[in-house]
């Protein structure tokens, strides 16, 4: 469903995710990755409770550091992508506390890299994967469009 979406809020969210994930890796602080997973899971379930959205609206917007960029968009895919990010981060945190450091940090950094690629290059990794799976015949067209 098309609605009004602040694209700068989405970009701020993505940059925040990348920064916190990278900081967790640099500081070798798995708990931070786990906390980020919880923050994203909450934001996915209840967007109004999003921590980064709150920071954007209460701290970043008032002084004019960023200005809203309101466009027609669909919120659902962004929430879905955030949910996927939360899942990867949770998986990474579980791997880290289980002693699988390489796998855990790989999952955490994957979230950071994909978020930054989207911000910097406008490249939707989810779209890429979906398109390739569909070309490979692993995803069928919706019945209504066949």
């Amino acid at each position: 469903m098309v609605t009004k979406v602040d694209r700068n809020a989405i970009k701020f969210n993505q940059v925040s995710i990348a920064v916190v994930s990278t900081a967790a890796f640099l500081a070798d602080f798995p708990l931070l990755a786990g906390l980020l997973a919880v923050v994203l899971a909450i934001a996915t379930a209840r967007p109004a409770w999003s921590l980064f959205r709150g920071i954007y609206q209460r701290i970043v917007l008032p002084p004019g550091w960023l200005r809203p960029n309101i466009v027609d968009d669909e919120a659902a895919p962004h929430r879905f992508a955030q949910g996927v990010g939360a899942t990867f981060l949770a998986g990474g945190w579980i791997a880290l506390v289980s002693g699988a450091g390489a796998v855990g940090w790989a999952l955490v950094l994957l979230v950071a890299v994909l978020a930054m690629v989207n911000v910097v290059f406008d490249f939707c990794a989810g779209c890429f994967v979906y398109y390739q799976l569909r070309r490979a015949g692993l995803i069928r067209r919706p019945a209504a469009q066949e």
Partner: protein, 144 residues
Amino acid sequence: MADRLLVLVLIAAGVAALRLLLRWRSARYRVRSAADLVPRGRPRPVVLAFSTPDCVPCRTQQKPALQELLRRYPERVEVRDVDAAEQPGLADRFGIMTVPSTVVIDPRGRIVAINHGVTRWERLAAQLSLNGVRPPARVRSQGA
């Protein structure tokens, strides 16, 4: 800490290398002719806009950018929507790897650029030299 910084540098280098690889791949497809896709009676640039019905960025980001391009340069460019899932042959012809993607073809049928991902109207106009801004000679394709 130093080893972790090194990992980050390597990841950044990897992303940059992937981007260069994609650019090189696009360049290989760009040497082919697309003269058959240029309108015959009145040759003008063509932008092929590859999308799929379920691609949200195609609808919410790429389509408005293409509409803005047409609004600013009516009669000077033609935009054709292509369902990449319906026409896989055409998508393969240009090495389309994701949607949205745009293929920019000049009036002589030369492929000027193959853009993977959302491309803003300003960039498309520059690739077609419509806005007086000529793109750098070697930087005419983008992607991750």
